[in-house]
């Protein structure tokens, strides 16, 4: 526990809004509207609109499970952020197995999406929820190997030790395959961009199809928050944390986080949505061997 505990929540909120705002600007730019930067506040307007809107209800929906699923997303994002070191200062909880904790919280998102999709008792939402589990089973093994590679490289599962271990060489350089796999998993854990088929347009919104009002607001905010936290975790894991010349550590960490976040948000406008069975084949036949080889190389270096 440290003073970071107070900072985590507002920080995640700011990054979430930043991600949503950047996405809105990109959307306005793609639509060709003049002055796309003026669209930055449209997520906030949308949030206000959803807040005052009455919920649409479906027949025989499981309200408890639906609300639990929707709430899991932002809660998991904030809890995952609690173990991330914020530049120079300590994490809110710098626990000895922070990487495992981060992994557990990110897996909770699968449960959230499935519950939200199942709970509303609607076919499209149900399919969307199951797509999230299929996606999870596809990306999780390569993702875990990427995280284990980091743990082996740092010889610790503590985030602050990971940052210290990158004093000489960033892990993004030392283990590039793990870094790329992590970026792909970051998209998958926020079901964003090429991996957004759980809420895909081909399912009329998938798991989020029937969510409205405050439910939809919390669900989308949780999704952006997860994307932001995944980007923020890439900094201590692979990009040397707050290391950098001239500027203070916290500013470097923030700049790196925003850069990764912008790249992740941008992919949604540039890459097609992957079909889940194809991604599964790719993940299991290409990514798992690649990450295992990366683990082997890193293990040999660590020895």
């Amino acid at each position: 526990m440290s003073e970071s505990l107070l900072v985590v929540l507002p920080l995640v909120a700011v990054l979430t809004i930043a991600a949503a705002a950047f996405d809105a600007v990109l959307a306005a730019s793609a639509a060709g509207s003049p002055g796309p930067w003026r669209a930055w506040d449209s997520p906030l307007r949308e949030a206000a609109r959803q807040l005052v809107r009455q919920r649409r209800s479906t027949l025989a929906s499981d309200r408890l499970l639906r609300r639990t699923g929707v709430l899991v997303l932002p809660v998991a994002a904030v809890l995952a952020a609690a173990v991330l070191p914020l530049g120079g200062s300590r994490a809110a909880s710098d626990m000895s197995v922070g990487i495992v904790w981060f992994n557990a919280m990110e897996v909770a998102v699968w449960a959230g999406v499935w519950l939200a999709g199942w709970g509303v008792n609607s076919a499209y939402s149900l399919v969307g929820g199951y797509r999230m589990i299929a996606q999870g089973l596809a990306y999780e093994l390569p993702h875990m190997f990427a995280l284990i590679t980091v743990g082996v490289g740092a010889e610790s599962l503590r985030f602050s030790d990971v940052v210290t271990a990158q004093h000489d060489l960033w892990f993004a350089v030392q283990m590039p395959v793990a870094f790329l796999v992590y970026l792909l998993s970051a998209l998958a854990m926020a079901f964003w961009g090429p991996l957004s088929s759980p809420v895909g347009a081909d399912l009329a919104g998938g798991a989020a199809a029937e969510l409205s009002g405050a439910d939809r607001l919390v669900f989308s905010a949780g999704r952006y928050a997860m994307l932001a936290v995944a980007a923020a975790a890439a900094v201590p894991l692979f990009l040397g944390g707050g290391a950098g010349p001239l500027l203070p550590a916290w500013l470097w960490a923030l700049l790196k986080t925003l850069a990764v976040l912008a790249a992740l948000v941008w992919t949604a406008r540039r890459l097609p949505v992957l079909r889940m069975d194809r991604f599964m084949t790719f993940a299991w036949t290409a990514l798992i061997p690649a990450t295992l080889l990366q683990l082997l190389v890193t293990g040999l270096i660590a020895l």
């Binding site: 626990m95 197995v97 495992v100 992994n103 557990a104 699968w110 499935w114 519950l115 149900l126 093994l141």
Partner: protein
């Protein structure tokens, strides 16, 4: 003091949510009640500083319960667990067994000689756990673990067929023996009442024969009545003329008249 309170709250919550598994009327609620119970157990492990084990329980249980959700879709008589259903079966015997197991475990708790604590907890329980589990066999364990993982992945990859839109080659034709050309030539095509071209008729006829072969091998499938008639007809033909596939020309093809339109679909 605070730890004791936390332990008792977690213990009661674990038992309570565990009981809920059998009370709720939906597979999804039962699954997540069980998950809540496991999460309480995982958190209780954190109280005794077994951080790695506790968080691993949380991580693995979330994943396991979600895999259970997949199985719910695949194997339940209740599609996707969407319908209400009872979570208990065979109540009387189950009650007896569970009472017996409870009595046995309780007796064990009260009769066993619990050891006193010796020494202090290690500074890094995760490392101590790894040493206790694997010790000097670390390398062997890691290699075996990797081999098991590779086997699992390979078997899953080999066992998975692609979706129906993903076939690399066009749809496979049934591997029934193709008819010799002269047998076709001997057909009494006049018996067919099609106005289609001769080639089309031949193609359709071939489809019929393939179809009949398929039906021959699985006589009790769930076919439509027409399909059964067709299979019977083909079966009689084979009995009369042997399995060589020759001599089909002698068939009375009058029976095909009604099938003309369905031949392609066979």
């Amino acid at each position: 003091m605070l730890q004791d309170a936390a332990f008792w709250i977690l213990a009661l919550a674990a038992v309570g949510t565990g009981t809920m598994v059998f009370i709720v009327d939906s597979m999804a609620r039962a699954t997540f009640a069980l998950l809540a119970s496991f999460l309480c157990v995982g958190t209780a492990l954190l109280l005794i500083d077994l951080h790695y084990l506790g968080i691993l329980v949380v991580l693995m249980m979330i994943m396991e319960m979600l895999v259970m959700a997949v199985f719910m879709l695949m194997y339940m008589m209740n599609p996707a667990g969407l319908m209400p259903m009872t979570m208990v079966h065979n109540n009387r015997a189950a009650l007896g067994i569970s009472a017996g197991v409870f009595a046995l475990l309780t007796a064990g708790i009260f009769t066993v000689h619990w050891p006193r604590r010796e020494g202090a907890p290690p500074p890094d329980p995760t490392r101590a756990l790894g040493q206790a589990l694997m010790g000097p066999k670390m390398l062997v364990m890691m290699v075996i673990g990797l081999a098991i993982l590779a086997t699992m992945i390979a078997s899953v990859v080999l066992a998975t067929n692609r979706g129906r839109y993903d076939l690399a080659e066009p749809a496979p034709t049934p591997d029934a023996p193709t008819q010799p050309a002269e047998a076709h030539a001997a057909h009494d095509h006049a018996a067919h009442t099609h106005t289609a071209q001769a080639q089309d008729v031949q193609g359709e006829h071939q489809a019929h024969v393939h179809d009949a072969h398929a039906h021959d091998t699985q006589p009790q499938g769930t076919h439509t009545p027409e399909a059964h008639d067709h299979a019977d007809h083909a079966g009689r033909g084979h009995e009369a003329h042997g399995a060589s596939g020759q001599g089909h020309g002698a068939h009375d093809h009058g029976g095909h008249e009604g099938h003309g339109g369905q031949g392609g679909a066979g």
